[in-house]
């Protein structure tokens, strides 16, 4: 899957930058630490936007394109931030046969974003996951830490409404 590049404005803080700089300082003598630095950066920021990748490129003395190449190669890296409400739809076998794809499609339709993306206001993000260990409740989705079971397409607007201010 081609990763979508987020259009959500970068909202990094000086504290986050300081944290990342500490990681870079510890690793910059060894370019093979690039992946590790990127993982740490994603821990700090939740994703790897342009601004963060530039910091990594400069800090590690690696061309920005190489950092981007790694970030688009590995599934673990995200170019989109997580929303305030991160919706995770299970596409594991049990949920899938119970129609979770339609739920994901409905969410996409309602929010105007696909899996791996975040709404422009930063309120919602969607991701697809594989089994949350609640197959008995299939199909399942989670919003942050809250679990919703036996979800139907019709329930989607109601669930979203709970989080829309």
């Amino acid at each position: 899957m081609l990763k979508k590049i987020s259009s959500v404005p970068f909202r990094g803080t000086p504290e986050q930058e300081q944290q990342l700089q500490t990681v870079i300082d510890a690793c910059k003598s060894d370019k093979s630490q690039l992946m590790h630095v990127m993982q740490e950066a994603q821990e700090i920021y939740g994703y790897l936007p342009y601004e963060v990748q530039v910091m990594i490129a400069e800090g590690m003395d690696v061309p920005l394109e190489k950092v981007y190449g790694v970030s688009t190669f590995y599934a673990q890296f995200s170019l989109s931030p997580k929303g305030e409400h991160n919706i995770s739809v299970c596409l594991g076998t049990a949920c899938y046969v119970k129609g979770s794809q339609q739920i994901l499609d409905k969410l996409t339709e309602e929010l105007g974003i696909g899996p791996g993306e975040c709404t422009a206001d930063g309120a919602f993000s969607i991701e697809a996951c594989r089994c949350v260990g609640a197959c008995g409740l299939a199909p399942v989705l989670t919003v942050n830490d809250e679990v919703y079971g036996k979800v139907t397409e019709k329930d989607v607007p109601t669930i979203l409404a709970k989080y829309q201010h």
């Binding site: 081609l2 990763k3 590049i5 990748q53 530039v54 920005l64 394109e65 190489k66 981007y68």
Partner: protein
């Protein structure tokens, strides 16, 4: 040297231990096809075209990266090998747009040639899903069409070789594509426009931006006076586009072809190279005598200049303020020459034939319009000129040798060698030394700065003044010198930098030579030889001996470095960002 005994197609051979099967085969006169392989810079075994059979090996192996071992028996042309190569080509074609008829590389495409060689008889053998990519034509100098990309990564290797790395393979699997970080347009990243990616692309996925229509339109416009000038290196490379051997000097035929294309005047950029030396040598001596910023660095190569602007803006003060020969030429045409002809410069169209894609960018730079109109209107590459000649039905190889028009057809050997790494330095030294000593310089050969090494250094004692010089070609090599300047360890007074490895003779606008030539022939040295031979034969070998130059100063500019000269022939630079 330790050697091993091997057999290739039953032929016993003794070859150096550790070399690749590809190189071993080559030494025995057996050519193994390659696509992704570029010696030293792209040895990744990715394309799978060079597969050969090795006795005892479980599967076919990639000849480009597989080292030979004692007793190895290699077969390069079995049924299994041919079948594998054909299937690989069919698989590559499954995502290739196959628009050969309208492709500028048709007839000169490595993929097309291999398909013919290996009898690909169904270009849709693996028809299936494809991704349509939008063209990236944002940059001034080139167009990327990823629909023709075969993901060999040769362009990426070329960009890395230059120390630029603004392109790379992004995403993975079926989505893999070559682009810049965050898939930004090339015009918005710190690409230096050198075009090394273009000359290394096996297909039509990266091509120069074609400006030949603009040239033809100007020629066909009766109100326009169209002046063409050809850079020093064009005469050493244009013949290649017509099947002539590498290093053939085709100056006479080139002039004849340009005249037949309908240009009003056919002049030589070498004249402007001589002019550059007048100004640059003067600027250098002024800096030495008046405590100016040293080392001074040459500014003829627009790829190098853009590199400095993006990556070392803090060192821009070291750059000579001299415009490049192309721009000086245009500036003189639209000021002095227009005046002499009694012509409004707006009716003049100056066309440069350049070895260089960055020259297209250069024409659009700020502060390059001495007459109020752009110094140069259109810059075309050697390849574009070759296409114009071809499509005009001019049979290049049968043309008579003709001479440049007067007065800007006159040049010295010093101007000619501008096309090779070290040439600008040597030309500048010939004039600077004579100026410093006040005596005629007998031996004009500064051999220490010649040759294809990445970085050259030399020290000269000139009338008691020690001058230490350095020459670098290829921006990655330039970086070594720039870092020395930054950390204070550079003890040079004068540095020549050319953006492309080997200089203009290996520029991004030069005729495409397939990887097999680039890998095994010293292309740069062969092309450069033609220029040095021409220099050696020239009666005048010092720029200041050029009589057109003398007249230009006497009649118009006054002295080198004069106020007028600064107005017409000098420029300024822009500190650019590395990231937008």
């Amino acid at each position: 040297m330790e050697t091993v005994n091997i057999q290739i197609n039953g032929m016993p051979l003794r070859v150096p231990k550790g070399i690749s099967i590809l190189e071993a085969a080559r030494s025995a006169g057996i050519e193994i096809p390659t696509l992704c392989y570029l010696k030293d810079i792209n040895e990744i075994g990715a394309c799978r075209i060079c597969m050969v059979e090795v006795k005892g090996a479980k599967s076919l192996v990639t000849a480009c990266v597989y080292p030979v071992n004692e007793g190895m028996e290699i077969f390069t042309n079995t049924e299994k090998v041919r079948h594998s190569r054909k299937m690989t080509l069919e698989l590559i074609l499954s995502t290739h747009d196959k628009k050969c008829l309208s492709c500028v590389r048709s007839g000169n495409c490595e993929l097309q040639m291999l398909c013919k060689e290996f009898g690909v008889d169904d270009e849709n053998a693996f028809a299936g899903e494809t991704i349509h990519y939008a063209f990236d034509d944002s940059a001034a100098h080139m167009v990327r069409d990823n629909n023709k990309c075969i993901l060999c990564r040769r362009c990426v290797a070329a960009c890395d070789m230059q120390g630029i790395s603004v392109i790379g393979a992004n995403a993975r699997g079926f989505d893999t594509h070559i682009s810049s970080a965050f898939d930004k347009d090339l015009a918005t990243v710190s690409c230096i426009s050198c075009g090394q990616c273009i000359v290394n692309c096996p297909t039509g996925a990266i091509v120069e931006k074609d400006d030949t229509d603009k040239v033809l339109a100007a020629i066909n416009d009766p109100t326009k006076f169209v002046i063409v000038n050809t850079a020093p290196s064009i005469r050493a490379t244009l013949g290649e586009a017509f099947g002539m051997s590498i290093g053939t000097n085709v100056e006479g035929k080139m002039v004849a072809a340009l005249r037949r294309l309908g240009f009003d005047k056919v002049f030589d950029t070498d004249f402007a190279a001589d002019l550059t030396i007048m100004e640059e040598a003067n600027e250098f001596l002024e800096r030495v005598q008046n405590g100016g910023v040293l080392p001074m660095i040459t500014s003829c190569s627009p790829g190098w200049v853009k590199y400095c602007e993006h990556y070392y803006p803090e060192l821009l003060g070291h750059l000579s303020s001299c415009k490049s020969p192309q721009q000086m030429f245009g500036a003189v045409m639209k000021t002095w020459y227009a005046q002499k002809l009694g012509m409004d410069p707006k009716d003049m169209v100056v066309v440069g034939v350049m070895p260089c894609t960055a020259k297209k960018f250069e024409t659009k730079r700020p502060n390059e319009a001495a007459s109020g109109y752009p110094d140069v209107d259109i810059a075309i590459t050697t390849r574009e000129l070759a296409r114009m000649i071809e499509s005009a039905g001019i049979y290049f190889r049968h043309l008579p040798d003709e001479e440049f028009d007067s007065p800007f057809g006159e040049s010295t050997g010093a101007g000619t060698i501008f096309g090779a790494t070290g040439g600008v330095m040597e030309a500048a030294l010939r004039t600077a030394v004579e100026k410093l000593t006040g005596e005629p310089l007998e031996n004009v050969d500064f051999k220490e700065v010649r040759g294809m090494e990445n970085i050259k250094e030399a020290e000269y004692d000139v009338a008691g003044t020690k001058i230490k010089v350095a020459v670098a070609s290829g921006t990655k090599n330039a970086k070594v010198l720039l870092d020395k300047i930054k950390d204070g360890t550079a003890d040079y007074q004068f540095i020549e930098i050319m953006g492309c490895p080997g200089g203009c003779i290996n520029g991004g606008g030069q005729p495409i030579q397939h990887a097999v030539v680039r890998n095994f022939v010293d292309l740069k040295a062969k092309r450069a030889e033609a220029l040095y031979a021409s220099d050696a034969q020239n009666k005048k070998r010092k720029s200041h001996e050029n009589s057109a130059i003398k007249e230009l100063y006497a009649d118009f500019l006054g002295e080198p470095g004069s106020h007028k000269a600064h107005e017409v022939l000098h420029t300024s630079y822009v500190a650019r960002k590395k990231y937008e």
